[in-house]
């Protein structure tokens, strides 16, 4: 056992014991422990295996910079891999598992990689797996993939949901260490709206883990007092366990709050802040020396923090080594807490560790002067690296500070951001407190608040003189990036092979590319690269820091938008009625639409659809078409506006008339089609396809606001305001006449007429339009009456054999009629391709008209709309098939078009299709091949008119 719980030290609650399990062993900890501190207290030094060499690894730090102690939390579907044990608060019944081994954690079969290490250096993959070429997909890649990674995803939905939301403030304080607390207090007392986000418990950051005094009290107690005051201020919100992970435009910050709340696993906040104060502190870094990755070797600040905060000794015999005064303080704190310190080593005195020993944990260290020290823990400090990451998210570059041997925030900070505390190199506690107060005061003034005079408390100063010392040059592997198993030799090798740019060396060696993003290893790696290339560190530069600062679960990004919550659901006015009829529903955009209405005895959807089509064509059918986009267009210039938006003419559309309209995009391709009814002199009702309802309104708003700002025209969606039903078939007039008093005969209400009128006593609208090719109307009433109207129409139509029909029958009838829909309006077709070229008016200017005349869009060999019927009438046609000449090779060069829509026509008794064919209708009568490679079928087809049914349009005009 290498560690133990100290008798009295620490701030845990010893009256509240907690049981938890690590691998197969149940252990005890206390409230206030992290999983890492509890493992150390139970003498667990080996917690995982390394990424590449499967080396034994232990706990290295006490914060979010942890590179080694990655564990899986939970079991089964809820298991979350690669979780830093240092960031997991201990909870009752917690289950954690070690990762990345085969066999057992202690006896990992994959540790054979460590023996083969001389062959696995940087660039190994690139050099080794080049030949034979055929081996890559079948041998190398599967093998590498099976060995790659650390933890393993369950690949099952864990059912957990992250919440997501927005917060707003005047000032976002990032980090609740001494400078962050001081800044927040300064601002909070002015009444400014402040949010304090801290990735730990927001009680002082590193100060909570130190023995330093503030005023007359322990710094940790001072921090608790400040936190209490912040909590009492109504204008201040403190978010513990919240990591600000990214800085975006206009003062937007991404933050992940890991506190579970009412069934959510955490909350992803987007915080808008006028100002921010980065008080993220600094991360201690190690020294590269042979065997520095052995369990028991850890950062000095961590060893000190575990003793001071959780009352845990990280070993029974602890050695301390560093290149700065921090090591001295560590030894002092450890001894004060009752930890046995067996050696105090300092590079400034010439102490250099050249080797370590111990199979699964540290047992001995060896020095260059032949001293041998028995130790089960080694606390090391190679200096501090300020956490400048967020200062770089707008492409700012940090600057090298020789005195502190560290990168500090550069001059180009994200707008509104200021820095305070250790992140600026103000390592001394008194400096951090003063700087926090000053920055807070400055921002208060910028906000127009009366800046308070704050008494910055006296603080114990802790000297942190650093003498740059990066590595011990001795035989053996010295780790630079623990998590990605990058050694100092890899850096040297990268340089020797020409990867002298820091960005190239990073990618060649994978330095800093693991989940910890090299928080402890990056600067060390840069220093070694600088040494190897004979340059200074500023000359070498640093890689750019990008979001996220710490790993963010994909579930947090998704928030509540998953499964059924991925998108809203829209229901039609007849939904409840259709459900009662046993309708099968389909999603169309966000809408849930009745696809077909199966009747007793029907065992296949085709039977239902065929019946609905035939019944409609012979009698009358009703379809809910409320989903079509409806845009109310009003204004003195409404006619001129529509004449500009539509490719065909609208200037002369008479009041009471409807016209089919085609919109083009600016580039001349077809955009959307629909009808437009002129309800009064200055009022029109534009309908769009269901799928394009939103995009058409957006397009029209753009035209209104940006292209035609001089026009008096007003647009608003009324899609949800009207329940609209297509009533189609020879009996449609007779049925509607039962609920409409006015004359809707062919003479009184001819084809393409429209009118506002009473529908069963309700103010409604009637349009004489037809998508089915039959005598048909679309009748609309305010949505609240939609349910009642469908019920009444079905009741009144029963003697006529009325049927409801769904989207399938709707689609069949429009293909029989040759109307274009989604398959044809796919963004790649022009009006000419669709056979609508003559609709594009040459007498006016409208959107897309000029572009539609480009030579390539008018070329004669463009695929144009045709109808297709199978030569063998029992053959089935499928949308997506390619059209090829007979007896040619199936290759792109022979491709002459495609099938865009296909169905079985119950009217004709065989399959029919619409498609686009080079040469179009000029090739009518030719026999070609519809080749469907994906489904593995092909059929001979004959080119015919796309108007399969009533091509003269006589039925809809009766």
């Amino acid at each position: 056992m290498s560690g133990y719980r100290l008798a009295t030290a620490g701030r845990i609650d010893r009256s509240k014991p907690i049981s938890f399990r690590f691998d197969n062993t149940w252990m005890k900890g206390f409230e206030g422990d992290t999983l890492a501190s509890a493992l150390l207290a139970n003498g667990v030094s080996l917690v995982g295996r390394s990424f590449k060499y499967h080396r034994p690894r232990g706990i290295f730090s006490d914060g979010s910079d942890e590179p080694n102690a990655l564990v899986t939390i939970g079991e089964g579907a809820a298991a979350t891999p690669n979780t830093r044990a240092t960031m997991v608060p201990l909870t009752q019944g917690l289950v954690a598992s070690s990762q990345n081994w085969r066999g057992s954690l202690k006896w990992d079969l994959m540790s054979v990689n460590d023996i083969a290490a001389p062959f696995l250096s940087a660039g190994f993959y690139y050099k080794t797996f080049m030949w034979p070429k055929a081996f890559w997909e079948k041998v190398y890649e599967p093998f590498i993939r099976s060995s790659a990674g650390l933890g393993v995803l369950s690949e099952k939905s864990d059912g957990a949901v992250h919440a997501s939301g927005w917060k707003h403030c005047d000032v976002l304080v990032i980090g609740a260490g001494p400078s962050g607390l001081m800044a927040a207090l300064t601002l909070g007392r002015t009444g400014a709206r402040v949010i304090v986000a801290d990735e730990a418990d927001a009680n002082g950051g590193r100060l909570a883990r130190e023995s330093l005094a503030v005023g007359d009290e322990l710094g940790a107690d001072w921090a608790v007092g400040v936190r209490a005051e912040l909590d009492s201020l109504p204008n201040v919100e403190v978010l513990p366990r919240t990591t600000v992970w990214g800085v975006y435009d206009e003062g937007l910050y991404g933050a992940l709050e890991r506190t579970e709340r009412n069934g959510t696993r955490g909350t992803h906040w987007r915080i808008r802040a006028k100002h921010s104060i980065l008080a993220a502190g600094a991360t201690e870094r190690p020294i590269a020396f042979p065997g520095n990755d052995r369990p028991g070797v850890m950062l000095a600040s961590a060893a000190r923090g575990y003793a001071n905060h959780e009352g845990v000794a990280v070993g029974r015999r602890v050695a301390v080594w560093g290149n700065n005064d921090n090591a001295t303080r560590t030894a002092k704190d450890l001894k004060a807490a009752g930890v046995r310190v067996v050696a105090e080593l300092d590079t400034r005195k010439g102490d250099e560790i050249v080797r370590t020993k111990g199979r699964h944990g540290l047992r001995e260290i060896f020095l260059s002067d032949d001293r041998r020290i028995e130790a089960d823990a080694l606390a090391i400090s190679g200096g501090w690296s300020p956490n400048v990451h967020l200062t770089c998210h707008h492409r700012g570059r940090p600057v090298w500070d020789e005195e502190r041997a560290a990168f500090l925030p550069g001059p180009d900070l994200p707008p509104g951001m200021a820095c305070a505390g250790a992140v600026t190199g103000a390592y001394a506690l008194s400096d951090a407190l003063r700087q926090g107060a000053e920055v807070g005061s400055d921002i208060a003034e910028a906000l127009g608040k009366p800046a308070p005079r704050l008494n910055v408390p006296e603080a114990e100063d802790d000297p942190r003189e650093v003498s740059a010392f990066w590595q011990v040059k001795a035989k053996g592997r010295a780790w630079v990036d623990m998590q990605n198993d990058v050694t100092s030799k890899d850096i040297v090798q990268a340089q020797a092979e020409g990867f002298v740019s820091v960005e190239h060396a990073k990618r060649y060696t994978t330095l800093g590319m693991a989940t910890d993003q090299g928080k402890t290893g990056n600067v060390l790696g840069l220093a070694l690269l600088a040494e190897a290339t004979g340059r200074t560190i500023p000359e070498t530069g640093t890689t750019i820091f990008r979001p996220p600062y710490t790993p963010i679960p994909m579930g947090a990004m998704a928030g509540t938008h998953r499964g059924q919550h991925f998108q809203p659901l829209r229901k039609t006015p007849s939904h409840a009625w259709a459900k009662e009829q046993g309708a099968v529903f389909t999603e169309a955009g966000l809408w849930l639409r009745a696809q077909y209405f199966p009747q007793p005895g029907e065992t296949h959807w085709r039977q239902s659809v065929d019946r609905e089509v035939i019944a409609t064509r012979r009698g009358v059918g009703i379809c809910d078409v409320s989903t079509l986009g409806k845009i109310d267009v009003q204004g003195r210039d409404a006619a001129a506006f529509l004449n500009f938006v539509y490719a065909n003419g609208f200037a002369k559309l008479a009041v009471g008339k409807t016209r089919y309209g085609l919109m083009l995009r600016e580039d001349g391709f077809a955009f959307d089609d629909g009808t437009c009814a002129r309800l009064s002199e200055n009022r029109y009702m534009v309908t769009t396809t269901t799928a394009n309802a939103g995009s058409v309104l957006r397009h029209m708003e753009f035209v209104r606001q940006c292209l035609c700002p001089e026009m008096d025209v007003h647009l608003i969606s009324v899609t949800d305001a009207w329940a609209q039903y297509a009533v189609a078939g020879p009996q449609s007039r007779a049925l509607l006449q039962k609920v409409i008093d006015e004359d809707i005969s062919n003479e009184g209400f001819p084809f393409m007429a429209c009118k506002g009128l009473d529908v069963a006593g309700v103010p409604g609208r009637l349009f004489r339009i037809s998508f089915s090719g039959e005598l048909a109307y679309e009748v609309a009433v305010p949505t609240r009456y939609g349910d009642a109207l469908i019920r009444r129409l079905m009741e009144l139509g029963a003697p006529m054999g009325v049927v409801p029909y769904g989207t399938e029958a709707l689609g069949v009838m429009r293909i029989e009629k040759g109307h274009a829909a989604g398959g044809e309006l796919n963004g790649q077709t022009t009006a000419g391709d669709l056979g609508l070229g003559r609709m594009v008016s040459t007498k006016k200017d409208s959107i897309g008209t000029v572009s539609s005349k480009r030579p390539a869009l008018e070329a004669g060999d463009r695929p144009a709309l045709v109808g297709l019927v199978p030569v063998n009438k029992t053959a089935h046609l499928q949308a997506g098939a390619h059209i090829l000449p007979p007896k040619v090779a199936t290759k792109t060069a022979n491709d002459q078009g495609w099938v865009s829509s296909a169905c079985h026509s119950p009217t004709l008794g065989h399959d029919i299709a619409l498609g686009f064919l080079k040469g179009g209708m000029a090739r009518a009568g030719e026999t070609l091949v519809a080749w469907d490679g994906i489904r593995g079928v092909q059929s001979d087809v004959t080119v015919v008119s796309p108007h399969f049914y009533d091509p003269e349009g006589e039925r809809l005009r009766v």
Binding site: K571, P573, Q634, D758
Partner: protein
């Protein structure tokens, strides 16, 4: 033929008020709602943009939604009215400060300085359009398109539960 008994559709999503923690969520079905667009907004006696007064919710420079339980706004030259009564579902929430819940749905700053009593806005919540007005911190009116009102209500309830 005016004797038909019509029912609200889609079937009333809120047959009775929903209670989540302190919040009571109620659908109001009585009043009419009209959108009014102005050719020259400067000539119209509307509240400032983003403000609600006497049932007039000014949600844009040239656009207001008018709530009325009597006659609709009289159309006149330069004022373009559209009946929106059936297009939107009106939801009232009372009983507690709703802002902690709305923080999960709406990206706007709803703090006192930015969104005081009498403020209104048209914005987005859970990918859905919404018009919200604040009568008091514990009294909000939310309009959302009728076809997706059920989805909106579900998200609102979930947000309230999370904020408890």
């Amino acid at each position: 033929m005016s004797d038909l008994a019509f029912a609200l559709t889609p079937k009333a999503t809120l047959a009775r008020p929903v209670q989540v923690g302190p919040w009571t969520i109620t659908e109001i079905t009585s009043d009419g709602l009209w959108s009014v667009s102005a050719s020259d907004p400067a000539t119209v006696a509307w509240p400032a943009v983003g403000r609600t007064e006497n049932g007039v919710h000014r949600i844009g420079a040239d656009l207001a939604f008018v709530e009325t339980d009597s006659a609709p706004p009289a159309p006149s030259d330069g004022l373009w009215t559209t009946d929106q009564t059936d297009g939107w579902t009106r939801i009232e929430v009372t009983g507690g400060d709703l802002r902690p819940a709305l923080a999960y749905l709406i990206s706007l700053d709803l703090g006192d300085p930015s969104f005081p009593n009498g403020a209104c806005a048209r914005t987005q919540a859970a990918h859905l359009s919404v018009i919200l007005t604040r009568k008091a911190a514990d009294h909000w009116t939310l309009w959302t398109p009728r076809s997706s009102a059920e989805s909106f209500l579900h998200h609102l309830e979930e947000a309230c539960r999370t904020a408890l």
